[in-house]
């Protein structure tokens, strides 16, 4: 009896989480283009064709892809190294550094953003593509780091010792023993970092110059809706583009998750 009640509650909360997303998909097909009237009077696919023709949408998507790719690459290198340093070794300041690593996600994005902005301002670095990448990399590092650390802790230390005993140098051990086992965790971290960077908006508003990434485009439409049908379609595209890496990342790291240990 009690567990039934609980099940209804649980699924109700899940519905609450997902109905808005389903609604977005419905609206992308709505024939009404002046208001958000529900239910949509008629359904059509014409807005997909309209959105396809839009140069500004394509430019924004392209820029977001480039930013996400670059910041993921940076995060992958730095996050892995940080994880390697912190996973096993215990040294002075270790706790400080691990607290430091969660700061960019524990502090509100606006603070990271404004801090970076005034930092860049002080150093007189002009805002550009690369300042967006720097901003995104700060929190992408955290994601990669978390995934890498979870996997490193599960690695069997005997394998590393065996490799060293058999005469491999440190580099060989990393290349043949550690990296192959880390692969899927790193890929998952990279995918999540990519998804996160792809739709980051708060830090971006502070570190972008004239550039318009896809989320910035979306934000403009949210504040001053001009082309609702195109926005609806873009929203669906964003959902699709971010769901795929998230699902793949989940499948890759399922074993690292707390519930499956």
């Amino acid at each position: 009896m009690r567990s039934n009640w609980l099940r209804w509650c649980a699924w109700a909360v899940v519905l609450f989480l997902h109905i808005p997303l389903a609604l977005i998909v419905l609206y992308a097909f709505s024939a009404e283009d002046k208001s958000y009237v529900f239910p949509p009077p008629a359904l059509t696919t014409q807005w997909f064709a309209v959105a396809w023709e839009r140069e500004d949408v394509w430019a924004a998507i392209k820029l977001s892809f480039q930013v996400a790719a670059c910041s993921t690459a940076v995060a992958l290198v730095l996050g892995t190294l940080a994880a390697a340093a912190l996973a096993r070794a215990s040294f002075f300041g270790r706790d400080v550094i691990s607290l430091l690593l969660i700061l960019p996600i524990a502090l509100p994005g606006i603070i990271t953003g404004i801090a970076l902005r005034s930092g860049l301002h002080t150093l007189e670095i002009p805002f550009s593509f690369w300042t967006i990448v720097i901003g995104h990399a700060t929190f992408c590092v955290v994601v990669v780091f978390n995934n890498a650390v979870a996997r490193l802790r599960r690695l069997n230390p005997n394998l590393i010792e065996a490799s060293m005993d058999l005469g491999a140098d440190g580099f060989q051990t990393v290349r043949y023993i550690i990296l192959p086992q880390m692969g899927s965790a790193l890929l998952a971290g990279a995918l999540l970092a990519f998804a996160l960077s792809f739709d980051e908006v708060i830090v971006t508003t502070f570190t972008a110059g004239q550039q318009t990434t896809l989320p910035l485009w979306m934000l403009q439409e949210l504040i001053r809706p001009r082309q609702r049908p195109v926005t609806n379609v873009v929203a669906v595209v964003i959902i699709a583009l971010t769901f795929i890496p998230i699902l793949v990342a989940y499948l890759l790291t399922r074993a690292d998750e707390p519930g499956h240990r």
């Binding site: 899940v14 529900f38 730095l78 502090l107 509100p108 860049l120 998230i246």
Partner: protein, 278 residues
């Protein structure tokens, strides 16, 4: 490697803190690099205090609502769901967590609009009067849901809910079932077990989740801008001060409010063992 964080992130953070003590020259619009407390005095102006208070109240309300909504789901996921169902639930919570913030916000703009789905539903259920009643309540109402504080609150809760579910689930999963059996064997009713065994042991999870809900609400400037009435939240003030007004020192001083609040909060949470549940 750690120089990345050391130099760029911390350097920027300290530059920000230093800026809080400078002031903007009213005449030239330039930042004057003299140490002073004028920004902190300005913080105490009633309008600023008011929005700080409103933001903190909102953050607390959102945190409480998220806890109440997240608990049954987290408990069900941790204790009852098995196999495929559990995986499905896990993905169902994960997807909104990682997927686009703006798209989800946009969805709520659609839902809460005057002609949108919630009004439609209220009409179908002949509950229009209830909606009107809520909207005419002074502190939370407004012309329509998307222009009311109630709307802002709903969207905040929706946005940060997954951040609450996952840590609570992790905490409840860690309670050995033998503990619960022992409690039942010793004669505790389910409600008693829940109150004196499950709740205290799940508390670190709640604390960990509340770090996110709390700090995200304090810093957000986009949700209240898109959904809500015209009252300002801390994030919006910081954003406007540094953007439109170019007053970085004041923006920096104001952003110290969430930093301090969160700092105190993190310290309290650490004492409760929240970091182990992250």
């Amino acid at each position: 490697m750690l120089l990345w964080f050391g130099v760029i992130y911390l350097g920027s953070l300290f530059a920000l803190l230093a800026n809080a003590f400078f002031r903007l020259d009213d005449f030239t619009g330039q930042v004057v690099r003299e140490v002073g407390f004028s920004n902190f005095v300005a913080l105490l102006e009633p309008a600023n205090l008011d929005s700080a208070r409103r933001t903190i109240v909102m953050a607390i309300a959102v945190t409480l609502a998220c806890t109440v909504l997240a608990f049954p789901l987290a408990y069900y996921m941790a204790r009852h769901a098995r196999g495929a169902q559990k995986a499905a639930l896990y993905i169902a919570v994960m997807l909104p967590l990682w997927s686009s913030y703006l798209v989800r916000l946009y969805a709520w703009k659609l839902l809460l609009a005057k002609e949108g789905a919630i009004s439609w539903l209220a009409q179908q259920l002949h509950a229009q009067w209830l909606l009107d009643l809520l909207l005419s309540t002074p502190a939370i109402g407004g012309p329509s849901l998307s222009f009311s504080t109630l709307g802002t609150f709903i969207v905040f809760v929706y946005m940060w809910l997954p951040f609450m579910v996952l840590p609570i689930m992790a905490a409840i999963e860690r309670i050995p079932s033998s503990t619960l059996e022992a409690s039942a064997d010793l004669g505790a009713r389910p409600a008693q077990t829940f109150r004196s065994v499950i709740l205290p042991l799940a508390l670190p999870g709640v604390a960990a989740g509340s770090i996110f809900t709390f700090s995200l609400t304090l810093g957000d400037f986009i949700i209240p801008q898109v959904i809500g009435d015209s009252t300002l939240y801390i994030g919006q003030i910081v954003y406007r001060q540094q953007g439109v007004a170019g007053n970085i020192p004041f923006a920096a001083a104001f952003s110290l409010v969430p930093i301090v609040v969160i700092g105190v909060y993190l310290w309290l949470a650490k004492r409760k063992g929240a970091f182990d549940a992250l």
